[in-house]
Amino acid sequence: MAGLSRTALATIVLLGLLAVLPPIFVWTGNAFYVDLATRLVILGIAATSLNLILGYGGLISFGHAAFLGIGAYGVGIPAYHAIFGGFPAVASFNGFFQVLLSTGVAALFALITGAICLRTKGVYFIMITMAFAQMVYYFFVSLSTYGADDGLVINMRSEVPLIDLNAPLQLYYLCFASLVAAMLIVRTIVNSRFGMVLQGAKGNPERMVSMGYNIFRYRLTAYVISGAMAGYAGALLGNFTTFISPDMMDWTRSGELMFMVILGGAATTLGPVMGATLFIVLEEVLQIVLDWLEPVAEPAYTALTGRDLQLEVYWHLPFGIVLILVVLFVRGGLMGLIRGRRD
């Protein structure tokens, strides 16, 4: 494969697999894996959006799940009112309206909170982005109309022309196309003059300021773009799960998105998608492996405690160990591994 870098090859392989596998899952009677792939792709979009500010901007935002949640409620709330009445201003099944609401509110939230958060640096930035996300979390917990912490069932998916989102494969391909678009958008932005300023401000903010850049404005713009994209991913997530709850915005969810970016390789186009893939695959594989191990460990456990063993619920433990190993020993995440050593 002369002339094709390993990164390009990895991109083709991963996106190629994501493009062709889901119909094969359906034909072979493994429809469950289509769900898995859909979740993977949606989380890939969210991680890609986070990568713009975290990877390229060096802004360690610990509240990205809030945008995802806002986007999901941007689908759920209009659908709820369209079914049960009230709040006619938003009541609608129209997919375009819902996506506009999701991305619009997410962008507005990013603009307002970003304008405050970006005045801080380092640990303070991490804490304040997390604090704002928790505010949104508790806001939705307090909204009993929309189910509070029990969540909200979306009885009707978004209506969009030509595509039936109730058909799993159609929904999947909408998400997949959105992922490819998100990757291209972020790639275009980071290579543009805007992106150079954003990356320069990550590497050396003082230098950028002395060159005459008002880096606050560039960072805020990136923050808003990133938030809007995550809001869009949230709209897809709402349509996919048809059940939304404040849990989607919990700080651990934000942490998972950060893991995906760092695990896959921050500041690379494919990295966040790689990270999301590894995340989903590990989650599944570890549960299967633990399920296999269960009969081995169960007799001893039962003898000791007198209870049945549910080993697969402990998949977080080996998962955490893998994360730690990757962070410790693989510089630049999975993409660093693929790219190999340079210089």
């Binding site: 543009s192 320069g200 950028m208 002395s210 060159m211 850049y213 560039y218």
Partner: protein, 248 residues
């Protein structure tokens, strides 16, 4: 003074009880190379930080081309035409050498809220950046990652970035810092080439370099300007000798 591009009037700055800048008056003329010298801890870096906007003075005024910029933010001053280099090399290490200089060129090509065209394909910016690299003799290093260059080359990059701003005033903060004899000579030759066509305020430790380059020299001691004049008069100045040589 008719040709003064930068005027500093009664500048004061204290940190706790220490007066880092003590009633500093200074003027920089159009196209002169004005050097500021002084022993360690004389407040040279604090002074340049107040001129470029990283720090705000407690009292006094900074006037640049007739405009009071005492309270202007650092990025505003850069836009108005003050470019600076840093005593401690300040570059974007994970970008290429050319990218670093291109960012400086890009900064004066209007705003950078341009999202579509790849920055590395904008020929006017890339070509101009390349020309500045050539001016400091780093054109063959253009595509290297900045982190891979030597300290001496980093110092030259600092100059290229300052030049790329095409600023009416260059603040050069110890460009010879940490350079070996050969590299220093190269830097002096470079600055000599710039002299006369640019207005430069040079802060420097290297006395030989300063006396070889400067049109005028101001001597800073304990935050105060004790003397200003041409190299010959500074060399003969008692206050200066006292400051540098201690008790007679």
């Amino acid at each position: 003074m008719p040709g003064a591009i930068l005027k500093v009037e009664g500048l004061n700055k204290s940190f706790g009880g220490i007066k880092a800048t003590d009633d500093v008056n200074l003027s920089v003329e159009e196209n002169e190379l004005h050097a500021i010298i002084g022993p360690n801890g004389a407040g040279k870096t604090t002074l340049i930080a107040q001129l470029s906007g990283q720090q705000m003075p407690d009292a006094g005024r900074v006037i640049f081309r007739g405009r009071d910029i005492t309270r202007a933010a650092a990025h505003r001053r850069a836009r108005l035409g003050i470019a600076r280099s840093f005593q401690i090399t300040s570059l974007v290490m994970d970008m290429s050498v050319l990218d670093n200089v291109a960012l400086a060129v890009q900064a004066r090509h209007g705003h950078s809220f341009r999202f579509l065209r790849p920055a590395r394909k904008v020929a006017p910016i890339r070509d101009a950046a390349m020309a500045y690299l050539a001016e400091v003799g780093l054109e063959d290093r253009a595509e290297r990652p900045t982190v891979a260059l030597s300290h001496g080359e980093h110092r030259l990059m600092e100059i290229a970035i300052a030049l790329a701003a095409e600023a009416p005033l260059l603040l050069l903060d110890e460009p010879m810092a940490g350079l070996g004899a050969e590299e220093s000579a190269r830097m002096v030759a470079l600055l000599k080439g710039l002299k006369g066509s640019r207005t430069i305020l040079l802060i420097e430790h290297d006395m030989d370099a300063v006396f070889a380059l400067a049109d005028r020299i101001s001597v800073l001691v304990y935050g105060h300007v004790v003397a200003t004049g041409d190299p010959v008069s500074i060399r003969g100045n008692d206050a200066v000798r006292h400051a540098y040589l201690g008790e007679e």
